[in-house]
């Protein structure tokens, strides 16, 4: 199984600032994704992080607000820019599939609170 490390695990951020979340995987993976989970809600896909090219964003998410980097097959970052209280969420990195071609794994999540 893939081991995914996310940093920071938790942060309290001031309105108007930006924060970059890092996602490190212990093996090379083709697909990496970023999700958002607002308090008490389900998960929403933000974007697919493509290695060596621009991320692919889902409807409602834009690069200016959520710039993503994917410099290699084991690492990605998500920046939450110009934060507002509405950005208070859990941000989750996921990778898949594993070597058996099955499940998709998630990092521990980054809990962001914007004040």
């Amino acid at each position: 199984s893939a081991v995914i490390s996310q940093k920071p695990s938790r942060d309290i951020c001031q309105r108007g600032t930006s924060l970059t979340i890092q996602c490190q995987v212990d093996s090379q993976v083709t697909m990496m994704f970023w999700y958002r989970q607002q308090p008490g809600q389900s998960l929403t896909l933000i974007a697919t992080a493509n290695q060596g090219s621009e991320a692919t964003y889902e409807s409602g998410f834009v690069i200016d607000k959520f710039p993503i980097s994917r410099p290699n097959l084991t690492f990605s970052t998500l920046t939450v820019s110009n934060m507002s209280p509405e950005d208070s969420s859990i941000y989750l990195c996921s990778v898949g599939p594993d070597s058996s071609g099955n499940t998709i794994y998630f990092g521990e999540g980054s809990w962001l609170t914007v004040v």
Partner: protein, 111 residues
């Protein structure tokens, strides 16, 4: 547009009882996933269902998939308190590992 509906959204039950969580989805999909999330934690993969009629079991949990009905079930047998968590189903979109999620079922099992 692929939509995933889970029900019930909230379930409180006694230990020792059986119950089923349902997951309906609106278009064809290759894979269906079940995850568990404990409060303040990330997501733990429970099952991946790949084909019609697939059934997988782990302990007191059993998941099944009916692709014709576009329905998956997560059955809990003789529930114990440790199974209290939120359970999500997720359906893969276009075979590209992007997941569309159900709203989650918050399960509380009382001693």
């Amino acid at each position: 547009e692929l939509k995933v509906e889970q029900n019930p959204l909230f379930l409180s039950m006694q230990e020792g009882k059986n119950y089923t969580i349902y997951c309906n989805y609106s278009t064809t999909s290759d894979r269906l996933y079940w995850y568990r999330q404990d409060p303040g934690k990330s997501l733990e993969s429970l099952f991946v269902l790949l084909s019609n009629g697939a059934v997988k079991q782990e302990g007191r949990l059993m998941a099944s998939l009916d692709t014709k009905a576009r329905l998956s079930t997560l059955h809990i047998t003789a529930a114990v308190h440790d199974l209290s968590a939120t359970y999500f189903c997720a359906v893969e979109l276009d075979s590209n590992y992007q997941l569309i999620w159900g709203a989650g079922t918050k399960l509380i099992i009382k001693p």
